[in-house]
C-alpha cells in the first residue's frame, strides 16, 4: 500500500527537478499537482491503516517513518502554498521518496502493546513526528541558505543563485520552521514524561518503563536535540544568530534527529521501539 505514494513522490521529485533546471512554470505546476496527489494517496493509505488497526499507524519504526513522510509532505505543501516558492521541492520531494522506500519495502507489523494505547502516548508520538517534519524542512531551508550565501559571498552567481529565493526569505522560513518544530518537540517531550509517570504508576515492574531515563540513548539524544533547538530559538532572539549560523544549527539539529530516528532505532537497543 505504501508503494503508490512512493511512486508519486518520486514522480513529483522528477517534475520538481525539471522545474528547477528549466524553470518552466508548467513543470512547476505539474510537480505541485503530482505532490498533492501523492499526499492524497498517502492520506488514504494512512487512513486505511488507521481503520484497520484502530489507531494512527506508528507503533513500529517503518510505519512511523511513513507517517513522518506524510506529515513532511503536508508541511512542505503548506509552505509552498503560503510562500508561493517552489524551488525547495527539488530537495524535499527526493527526501520524501527516499524515506518512503523504507515503509514500501518492509511495511512492518502494526502490533501495539496495550500499555501504549493511551491518548497521551499518541500525542507524544504525533507531536514528535510533526516536530521532526518541521526540522527536516528547516534543515533543507538552512542548507539552501548556505548554498545561496556562498554563491553571493564568493561572487559566483551560478546555477543556484538564479533559482533559489532570497537569503532573507530562506532565513525567515527557516526561523518559522524551527520555532514550530521546537514547540511540538517541547509538547512531545513533556507529554512523554507525563505518560511515563502515569504508566509507571500503573505497571511499576515493566522493564521498558524502568529503562526510560536519561541513560537510555534514545531519550538522551532526544533531550540533546531539544537542547540544541532551544539554543537555536534563543540564540536567534537574544544573540542575533540568524543567517548562516542559524542555517548550520538547523542542519546539525536535523542530522541528530535522523540519527535518532534511523540507526539508533535499528541498531541500538533502547526502551523505545523506534
Amino acid at each position: 500500500m505504501n508503494v503508490l505514494p512512493l511512486i508519486l513522490y518520486a514522480a513529483a521529485g522528477v517534475a520538481y527537478a525539471v522545474h528547477f533546471a528549466t524553470r518552466r512554470p508548467q513543470a512547476g505546476r505539474l510537480a505541485t499537482t503530482v505532490l498533492v496527489f501523492a499526499a492524497f494517496a498517502h492520506t488514504f493509505v494512512i487512513g486505511m491503516q488507521t481503520m484497520e488497526v484502530r489507531h494512527v499507524p506508528f507503533a513500529n519504526a517503518s510505519s512511523a517513518i511513513s507517517t513522518f513522510v506524510w506529515l513532511l509532505a503536508l508541511s512542505y505543501l503548506y509552505l509552498e502554498m503560503t510562500s508561493d516558492e517552489r524551488s525547495m521541492g527539488v530537495f524535499i520531494a527526493p527526501m520524501l521518496a527516499g524515506l518512503q522506500t523504507i515503509p514500501a519495502w518492509s511495511p512492518g507489523i502494526e502490533r501495539i502493546d496495550p500499555m501504549l494505547d493511551s491518548p497521551s502516548f499518541w500525542m507524544h508520538v504525533s507531536s514528535l513526528l510533526f516536530a521532526y517534519a518541521s526540522f527536516a524542512l528547516a534543515a533543507v531551508l538552512g542548507l539552501t541558505y548556505v548554498v545561496q550565501f556562498t554563491e553571493i559571498k564568493k561572487k559566483h552567481l551560478g546555477f543556484f543563485y538564479t533559482r533559489l529565493p532570497s537569503l532573507q526569505t530562506l532565513d525567515i522560513m527557516n526561523a518559522r520552521a524551527v520555532a514550530v518544530g521546537w514547540l511540538f518537540l517541547t509538547v512531545g517531550v513533556v507529554v512523554g514524561v507525563i505518560w511515563v509517570t502515569q504508566a509507571r504508576a500503573a505497571a511499576p515492574d515493566d522493564p521498558n518503563l524502568r529503562a526510560m531515563s536519561l541513560d537510555d540513548p534514545k531519550i538522551f539524544v532526544a533531550v540533546l536535540t531539544w537542547g540544541l533547538y532551544s539554543f537555536a530559538v534563543l540564540a536567534r532572539r537574544m544573540m542575533g544568530w540568524s543567517g548562516r549560523r542559524a542555517a548550520w544549527l538547523s542542519a546539525v539539529g536535523f542530522t541528530i534527529v535522523l540519527l535518532n530516528f534511523l540507526p539508533i532505532s535499528y541498531f541500538v537497543r533502547t526502551s523505545h521501539t523506534f
Binding site: P25, I152, Q168, S242
Partner: protein, 438 residues
C-alpha cells in the same frame, strides 16, 4: 482586411532621425487620433520608444495605407519625405505580425531581452484602444503579441539577469534582502552611477535614502532629486550603522571605508546583512571588508562581470525565444486564415437560411392549421437541421492549411451554392429543381 506596418527602428535609422520621428515626447494618443481622422485605415496603433517609431494599421489596401502613412509622418513631424524614406521599413500581414511578436518578446531591442518593451507595447495599444482607434484585427494581434512577450519571458532566460551595472546591483540587493521595502540605503558620493543606482533602489520602494558627500551641496542636490536626505560627511559611520545597502561612488584616490570602520558598525548592528556596492574607481572600500561575515561587498568589476555573463546568457536564449515567436506566428496565421473564411461562411449560412425560410413560407398553407407551439417547433427543427448541416463544412473551411487551398475551396463553395450571385432564386427548392430537370 490586412495588417500593415511602417516604421523606423534602431536597426534602420540613426538616433537623430529617430528623435525627429518620435511620437512619445508628444501625446501618442493625439497622434493616433489625428491618424485615424485622416487615413483610410480602419484601425491604428502608434508604438513609439527611444529605439523605434512604428505605426500598425488594419487596412483593406496596404499600398494606399503606405502612401497615406508616409504623408502623415511627413506632415506630423514636418519632415520632407526624402529625409526618412530610405530608413523606413514596411511589412504586411504575417511579416508585420512577426515583427510585432519579436518586438514584444524583446528580440528586436537594442539590449536583447530588455523588459520595458512589453510594457511600452501595451501602453501604445492602450492609448489607441482608449480612443477607439483599434478594432478586431489589431485587438487580436496586439493581445496575441502580449501573450508572446509573456511566454518568452516565462519560458526562456532572454529577459533574465541585469544588463546594466545599476540593475545588477539592485538585482543582487533583492537576492539578499528579498523585497526592498523598508530597507535603508546610504549613498556615499553624489556621482552619476551612484545617483542612477539610488533611483533604481527608490523605484523598488526602499524606505530611506541617505546621501553624504564631501561637498555638501552635491549631496543636497542628489537628495532633492531622489527624495532622500543629505547628512554631513562626518556622520557617515553612523549612517552606515543604520543602513542595509551602502553605495559608494566617490572620486577619492584612497579607500574611504576600512574594515575596522565596518566592523565597528556591524558588531553593534542587528544580525541583518550589509550589502556594500563600491562602484568607484579607484575603489572606495578596502577589499578586506568583504571578509566580514554579514557583509557582501561588490565592486564595479564584479558588477560588470555579472553584466557580461548575463549578456552572454541572453545570447544563448535567442534561439529558444525565436522558436516561441515562430510557433505563435503559425498559430496566429491559422487564426487569420480562419478569419478570411468568415465572409464565405456567413454567405453560406445566409443562403441556407433563405432556403429554409422560403420553404417554410411555401408550406404556409399546410402548416397554417398547426397550433403556435407546434409551429415554433417546426421552425426550431428546421433551423437545427441547417445548423448541423453547416457545422462540419464551417469548421473545415476555417481549418484549411494554406491560403491557396483556402482560395480554391472558397471559390468552390461560392460556385456550388451560388453565393454572392444576385441571380439566384431563393424560391426554387431542390424539389423544384429536380422537377424542372425532368
Amino acid at each position: 482586411m490586412h495588417l500593415f506596418l511602417l516604421g523606423v527602428s534602431h536597426r534602420t535609422a540613426p538616433v537623430d532621425l529617430r528623435e525627429r520621428l518620435d511620437f512619445s515626447s508628444r501625446d501618442v494618443g493625439a497622434a493616433v487620433e489625428t491618424l485615424a481622422a485622416r487615413a483610410s485605415a480602419a484601425e491604428s496603433v502608434v508604438l513609439s520608444t527611444c529605439n523605434r517609431s512604428e505605426i500598425y494599421v488594419a487596412s483593406s489596401e496596404p499600398s494606399r495605407a503606405r502612401e497615406e502613412l508616409i504623408a502623415f509622418l511627413s506632415e506630423y513631424h514636418q519632415l520632407p519625405r526624402d529625409a526618412f524614406l530610405p530608413h523606413l521599413f514596411t511589412y504586411d500581414d504575417t511579416a508585420a505580425a512577426h515583427h510585432l511578436f519579436s518586438v514584444s518578446a524583446g528580440l528586436d531591442s537594442l539590449v536583447i531581452g530588455e523588459p520595458q518593451i512589453l510594457g511600452q507595447v501595451k501602453d501604445a495599444y492602450q492609448a489607441a484602444a482608449d480612443r477607439h482607434c483599434t478594432g478586431p484585427l489589431l485587438n487580436k494581434t496586439f493581445h496575441w503579441a502580449f501573450g508572446v512577450g509573456k511566454r518568452v519571458r516565462s519560458e526562456t532566460g532572454l529577459g533574465e539577469g541585469a544588463v546594466s551595472v545599476s540593475f545588477a546591483a539592485v538585482a543582487l540587493a533583492r537576492k539578499i534582502f528579498g523585497r526592498l521595502q523598508g530597507r535603508r540605503v546610504l549613498v556615499v558620493g553624489a556621482g552619476e552611477i551612484g545617483a542612477l543606482t539610488a533611483h533604481h533602489l527608490r523605484s523598488h520602494g526602499v524606505a530611506e535614502i541617505v546621501i553624504t558627500s564631501r561637498t555638501a551641496a552635491h549631496a543636497e542636490a542628489l537628495a532633492a532629486e531622489t527624495g532622500g536626505r543629505a547628512v554631513p560627511w562626518s556622520d557617515m559611520p553612523r549612517a552606515m550603522g543604520r543602513a542595509d545597502i551602502v553605495v559608494t561612488a566617490t572620486g577619492s584616490q584612497r579607500p574611504i571605508i576600512t574594515r575596522a570602520e565596518v566592523e565597528a558598525v556591524t558588531g553593534r548592528r542587528r544580525p541583518d546583512p550589509l550589502f556594500i556596492i563600491d562602484i568607484a574607481v579607484p575603489r572606495d572600500v578596502d577589499p578586506a571588508v568583504g571578509e566580514i561575515e554579514q557583509v557582501f561587498l561588490y565592486n564595479i568589476d564584479d558588477l560588470q562581470g555579472i553584466v557580461q555573463e548575463n549578456l552572454a546568457r541572453r545570447g544563448g536564449e535567442i534561439a529558444r525565444a525565436e522558436a516561441i515567436v515562430a510557433e505563435e506566428l503559425s498559430r496566429f496565421t491559422a487564426w487569420q486564415r480562419s478569419r478570411r473564411a468568415i465572409p464565405t461562411v456567413i454567405a453560406l449560412r445566409q443562403r441556407f437560411d433563405d432556403i429554409r425560410r422560403s420553404e417554410l413560407e411555401r408550406l404556409e398553407t399546410k402548416l397554417g392549421g398547426l397550433p403556435p407551439d407546434a409551429r415554433a417547433r417546426v421552425d426550431e427543427v428546421t433551423r437545427l437541421i441547417v445548423e448541423k448541416l453547416l457545422l462540419e463544412p464551417t469548421e473545415q473551411l476555417k481549418a484549411l492549411p494554406d491560403e491557396e487551398t483556402q482560395a480554391v475551396y472558397t471559390e468552390a463553395v461560392s460556385r456550388l451554392f451560388r453565393l454572392g450571385d444576385g441571380s439566384d432564386e431563393p424560391d426554387a427548392s431542390p424539389m423544384d429543381e429536380r422537377r424542372r430537370r425532368k
